[in-house]
């Protein structure tokens, strides 16, 4: 199925992306307001698309890989908007909008034309809860990785003594970036844990057991353990700053790798999607 809303959403996201990047590069700044507006408009258009598909599917539209990518991109967009507005950190936009554009672009290309009905086993009230929790958790990890990238850029400038002037002045302080990173990781971890619990309950209802060694389950467990270790290293050993930022990015690449690998190579029962 195709809706009229997906292409405009994609165009608006691309616009937001270019404005965020221009705002970073241009010294005078001031473009970030328009960038945020474009991102917001894109998210609205994207929401319309998801509503149309959701009505058709009779549940949240995550029935295939393309749809689940689109849904994920939407959640990242929402989380970015909140993050940029709440922490006044337009720099984040330059890192998250490329991900949104790539995810939605891929979804757009792969989106099957025929109407998609969810298999009856997946039609459950647990589906939106489980998937939304999981995706929100992942979105927060993705934001944490973006904040960490900003941190590394800013930190290396300060170390190299090139900080004064240029983008330096527009970036938040290291302390703030580090603190936000920590908070995002914490909340992401909570959401991921809840996603695992709800998934297990749902699995127990639908398939009769909590855990079935699905590829996605195994990989999620791995990333969950890695994030737990990351948080632990900060709390116990005081690993913060550069080290924490590097690790956040590393663990996030594992997460992305497992997401893509599971969906494209071993779909398993998650049926080519997280549904």
């Amino acid at each position: 199925m195709s809706t009229l809303w997906l292409a405009p959403a994609l165009v608006l996201y691309v616009l937001a992306l270019s404005l965020f990047v221009a705002d970073m590069v241009q010294r005078q700044g001031g473009l970030n307001r328009y960038a945020l507006l474009a991102l917001g408009a894109g998210a609205i258009s994207h929401t319309m698309d998801l509503i149309a598909r959701g009505l058709e599917a009779g549940n949240i539209p995550v029935g295939n890989f393309a749809q689940s990518l689109s849904f994920l991109a939407w959640i990242i967009a929402l989380a970015s908007i909140v993050m940029i507005a709440r922490f006044k950190m337009p720099a984040i936009g330059a890192f998250t909008t490329p991900v949104i554009v790539v995810a939605l672009g891929a979804a757009y290309v792969m989106m099957p034309n025929e109407a998609h009905k969810l298999p009856s086993t997946l039609r459950s009230a647990w589906l939106p809860i489980h998937v939304t929790l999981a995706f929100f958790g992942e979105a927060l990890f993705m934001l944490a990785a973006s904040v960490s990238l900003v941190y590394l850029v800013h930190e290396s400038r300060l170390k190299a003594k090139r900080s004064l002037g240029m983008i330096g002045g527009k970036l938040p302080s290291l302390e703030k970036l580090d603190r936000i990173n920590y908070r995002l990781l914490g909340w992401g971890f909570v959401l991921l844990s809840l996603a695992m619990v709800t998934g297990a309950i749902w699995a127990a209802n639908a398939w009769g057991r909590f855990w079935s060694w699905e590829p996605i389950e195994c990989w999620t467990l791995v990333t969950w353990l890695l994030y737990a270790g990351l948080l632990e290293s900060r709390l116990a050993a005081g690993w913060r700053g550069r080290r924490a930022a590097t690790l956040t990015i590393a663990v996030f690449t594992v997460l992305v790798g497992s997401y893509l690998g599971v969906n494209l190579v071993y779909p398993g029962k998650h049926g080519g999607s997280f549904g």
Binding site: L158, S173, R179, A237, G238
Partner: protein
């Protein structure tokens, strides 16, 4: 009668500090002195006085600038009790358009010792309010000052002239804010109470630092400074245990070899659980070993690093100043067009023809009804209305002719035009006039309407 805007003054380029300090006005002196000025310089119609540590300037409007300038020189000599020959050679004078340009440049901090420094705009605003209080301003200076403020805002907003650190201490403070989010919960330790370290500490305290440790070889000096800045003095033999709570460490000790190396700081970092440390090395020879820079979450800047940052941002400001000069040139042209328009005063004729137009309009509106009247009745109505118009005009024109002076001449003309609406076209006159005459927002609409008269 035409009036000329002019500026008489001296600044850091034209006069040495010995001269500037003798002419400088204390803030509380300005209003009384301006009131005095009216007697000493009777030919000055409007005047404002700007006195800062880098300049003393009189911005004035007078029919004869040469004579007025002479009176103002006498005023300076009398009021400041300085022989005129001491400062006379340092004075510069700008007239007309050049005076506008100078005032705009001063406000935009293009004439400052440190390009782009932000205080001058506040000082200019103060000069304006003082002149308002002394009641020495008229329409031209009101407008000129407001315009100068607007130009300054525009320059600050659309160029980077105020960006970057222009002193070593402000560069250090700027860096501290890039590393730390809030300085309130941070501890600053001065290792050596040198002058530059003290300056930096003062700025940090101003930004909210509450915990300050001061270490000095001469303990007395540390104690004095600690009392003054609200810190704690620590003896030189006993400072190392405190290092672990220092988030910002400023070194300015005279020493042959570095005081602190990686072997000192590494264990401290572990104790601090790798919370960042900002090391500012103002000492020559250096106080902190350069290898410290390689430690995680340690940011080390020595005096050369900070000096380079200062040189860079000064160069940057000079480049931005070129952009600002373009804005100023544009603004001067726009403002000058308004000011010269003001001095052509075909006001009386203007108002008369405006009245005639209004009468015509009313006659046209009642054409049908008038056509039904007898010719002599119609004539009667015409002479009656002309009579009313003339009565109104008589009062206005005699008043305008009588007042040849300034606040009376040009200004009264402008006010009369405003009151009678003759500066507007008829169509506009029937709409609501927002009356931006004395308001600050005039800068947004540089009197386009006047051109349509």
């Amino acid at each position: 009668m035409t009036f000329e805007l002019f500026i008489l003054g001296l600044n850091h380029q034209s006069a040495p500090i010995e001269v500037r300090e003798r002419l400088a006005f204390a803030e509380t002196d300005v209003v009384p002195s301006l009131s005095q000025l009216k007697q000493i310089a009777p030919s000055v119609a409007e005047v404002a006085l700007l006195s800062t540590c880098n300049r003393v300037e009189l911005v004035a409007v007078a029919p004869d600038p040469a004579q007025a300038a002479q009176e103002l020189r006498e005023f300076l000599a009398l009021d400041r009790r300085v022989a005129a020959n001491i400062f006379e050679s340092a004075l510069y004078q700008f007239e007309g358009r050049e005076a506008v340009r100078h005032l705009f440049r001063v406000g935009a901090s293009l004439d400052s010792m440190v390009l782009g420094e932000p205080q001058i705009l506040g000082q200019l605003k103060l000069a304006y309010t003082q002149a308002v209080r002394a009641e020495t301003l008229g329409m031209i200076l009101h407008r000129t000052f407001h315009r100068a403020f607007a130009v300054a805002k525009r320059v600050r907003k659309s160029t980077l002239i105020g960006h970057g650190a222009v002193s070593v201490s402000s560069a250090a403070v700027g860096l501290a804010r890039e590393i730390f989010d809030s300085l309130k919960d941070k501890t600053v330790m001065l290792l050596g109470a040198g002058q530059m370290a003290e300056l930096t500490a003062r700025q940090l305290v101003k930004l909210g630092v509450q915990s300050l440790l001061i270490v000095n070889r001469t303990f007395e000096r540390a104690a004095t400074l600690a009392r003054e800045l609200g810190g704690t003095a620590v003896t030189f033999d006993n400072y190392k245990p405190y290092l672990k709570i220092a988030d910002v460490l400023i070194g300015s000790v005279a020493t042959a070899r570095p005081l602190l190396g990686t072997e000192d700081i590494e264990p401290i970092l572990r104790e601090r659980r790798y919370r960042p440390m900002f090391l500012i090395d103002l000492g020559v020879p250096r106080n902190f070993h350069e290898r410290l820079s390689s430690l995680e979450n340690v940011y080390l800047y020595d005096i050369d690093d900070l000096g380079t940052a200062v040189t860079n941002s000064r160069a940057e400001r000079a480049r931005e100043a070129e952009k600002a000069e373009v804005f100023v040139a544009e603004e001067v042209e726009g403002f000058w067009r308004w000011l010269s328009g003001l001095e052509l005063v075909p006001t009386i004729k203007d108002i008369r023809s405006h009245m005639d137009r209004l009468r015509d309009l009313e006659f046209k509106r009642h054409r049908a009804w008038l056509a039904a009247l007898q010719p002599d009745e119609r004539e009667h109505i015409e002479s009656l209305t002309r009579g009313i118009a003339n009565k109104i005009l008589h009062q206005v024109t005699t008043e305008l002719r009588r007042s040849g002076g300034f606040v009376d001449g040009v200004y009264a003309a402008e006010i009369a035009r405003r009151l009678l609406g003759s500066h507007l076209t008829i169509e506009q006159g029937e709409r609501d006039d927002s009356g931006d005459f004395f308001e600050e927002d005039v800068e947004r609409r540089p009197l386009k309407r006047r051109g349509r008269r």
